[in-house]
Symmetry: C2
């Protein structure tokens, strides 16, 4: 896929008060054996490019958000790997959670940090592990959403659906906002629907996919969390109050794990009235499985995607990938199609694409058998 960089369609320079918060705490198992507890999905190149998804996310934002304005929230155990995967991050901008508490404490923490740093801060919150085929279109949508944030809304970008997907939540479009704010009001958020319902949503043209992107003035989010999740707001305030002092780490360790574990969607968005949504069509993918990785990869005429040196004889639609530092073994597929073949330092996976969701079964089996070296 195309990656960041300036584009003639874009006229806006990086904005002085614009910040980004990248949520990078995931520890998915769907990309085993490439993804491991110490090397989750966002630290791997899975979008057809050659840099980790997190780094691609940061670089894609570069025309809008300066690297020193990018915060990354991740798990404490992933701090070093996160900085290694994205060297332009400032170490002090990595917020390392001592325990996973879902996204509301994460967003609350980052919003308070930024509000303290810059009272005028406007914030772009993004997942770290998605693919975007059209980065300029993506940035244009962000700029629209920021107009709503400037007007005091908590905004989101809803992806215009391309299929009746049952694996995502949906956002129902409300009225057009106007008054300088792009987008629409949010009529409601809906959980993952059944197939027939999803089909109705897509046919109606009134529903968008919830892609977990949020845009707000830092002070607006701080206020919203204080209203909807007061105990989270209080706990985070104690941690942020000690930021940069010798007490910060101890407070973080003692308080953060006690915060209510709830998503920003459920904890704030679904309770908030002043919401905006901007429709987006920029080739978005959440890269949900190895099948997505194949879809995003550069392929030959037979639909095969292979590392240099590896090859397919008499087969179609295969993905051949080595994730061994310094280069892996030569992978050869003969007479087989629709396979994902992945090599890592201590594992080889051969997966039929129709069973891409079953990778977790392997992880479960290895966990059960105590094969921790493979997890």
């Amino acid at each position: 896929m195309v990656d960041s960089g300036a584009d003639p369609r874009e006229s806006v320079a990086a904005m002085a008060n614009t910040y980004a918060v990248i949520m990078a705490g995931g520890s998915g198992t769907r990309f085993w054996p490439a993804s491991r507890q110490k090397l989750p999905k966002q630290l791997l190149p899975l979008d057809g490019g050659d840099v980790p998804l997190l780094a691609a996310t940061v670089r894609r934002l570069a025309p809008l958000v300066k690297p020193e304005h990018v915060l990354v929230v991740t798990a404490e155990r992933l701090r070093a790997a996160t900085l290694a995967a994205c060297p332009e991050l400032l170490p002090e901008n990595v917020l390392a959670e001592p325990a996973a508490r879902n996204t509301a404490p994460c967003v609350a923490w980052a919003a308070q940090v930024l509000a303290a740093r810059d009272p005028e801060a406007r914030v772009v919150v993004l997942p770290s592990d998605h693919a975007i085929a059209d980065p300029a279109g993506f940035r244009a949508a962000i700029e629209e959403a920021l107009t709503a944030a400037d007007a005091g809304f908590i905004a989101t970008i809803g992806i215009v659906p391309t299929r009746a997907e049952t694996g995502y939540g949906y956002i129902e479009l409300g009225n057009v906002l106007g008054n300088g704010a792009a987008g629409n009001a949010v009529a409601r958020f809906v959980e993952k629907p059944k197939k027939e319902v999803a089909e109705e949503y897509v046919a109606s043209g009134k529903y968008l996919w919830n892609a977990g992107m949020f845009f707000f003035r830092a002070s607006v989010m701080v206020d919203a969390v204080a209203r909807h999740l007061p105990s989270v707001a209080e706990g985070v305030a104690k941690i942020v109050g000690a930021r940069g002092t010798s007490e910060e780490k101890a407070l973080l360790q003692s308080i953060f794990p006690t915060l209510e574990s709830v998503s920003i969607d459920v904890g704030v968005m679904e309770k908030e009235a002043k919401l905006a949504v901007v429709p987006g069509s920029f080739g978005w993918s959440d890269i949900g499985s190895w099948l997505s990785a194949w879809e995003l990869a550069a392929k030959d005429d037979q639909g095969n995607a292979a590392d240099v040196g590896s090859f397919v004889i008499d087969g179609e639609r295969n993905l051949l990938r080595s994730y061994v530092p310094g280069g892996g073994k030569t992978i050869t597929v003969i007479g087989a199609s629709d396979l994902v073949v992945v090599e890592t330092e201590n594992a080889i996976l051969v997966l039929h694409r129709d069973k891409a969701q079953d990778v977790k079964k392997a992880v479960e089996l290895l966990t059960k058998h105590g094969r921790t070296e493979l997890l």
Copy 2:
């Protein structure tokens, strides 16, 4: 498969004048990437056991032929690897060919060496890379064939066919020999037949598979080669005349590569009159491809054969094998069937069993691209 060792059906001790010549010069490509130019098929465990095929061949013979009576003819470049694969071989019993000249010079050389060593020598000539499910039955057939050898015949064991195979030559049974010699005369040798012809052969009950096994008194073979391939006999005589002297190596290097390159079948057997054949049914396989290796492997209820630690989820009839010294990577197959997955130190092969004959295409491609590290 079951391996050598004494068996209550056998009453015969190792015979003082019985020798074996194991032909181990093959450099097949059908087991790539496990088989390499420097590690051909006979040096790999491919029959379901855990020792190289050559070692299994020697050990299977042990109740009939003492290890110090076993000669192995191989290529000069494979001498060290051959001794490593079968440590009970005496180094002086490895006849190392400086060039491949097919099987007639090989057999002629070994026969002259043994005739010089023991005028009463009787010789068992076997390929090094076959599988035998019933070693005791195999040895019983050898003992029968040796009765014909004792009576002055050049004998062979013909495998009772279990299918209308078009990949083997056939031997037509002649009259029963009698007079203390087991088996039948050979009516004729036939080359690989077409399917319809093979079906007729099998239906007739008069045809056996030619498995390249020969039994004779050393003096009888020396005489036969002298009559049918006199130049080969003369050249070999010069080499054997210098055996154990400082001149041997130079003579071998200068003469052997000039000998007529012809098979023992074409060069001697098809011209010889005094031939015997003993039918054999002992679970023979020439292990012609990875499909054969799967057939011979120990399998679970789903037909999967995997190294310890590797596993299949939701798939059948897969063969998962690592040929990395010290242990390979964990191989996991999810949702795929009928695959051969092989790991070596620098290659991974994923092969559909229906395309087992196409492994040579990969070798050809790698050769064309100069990937010598993989050959």
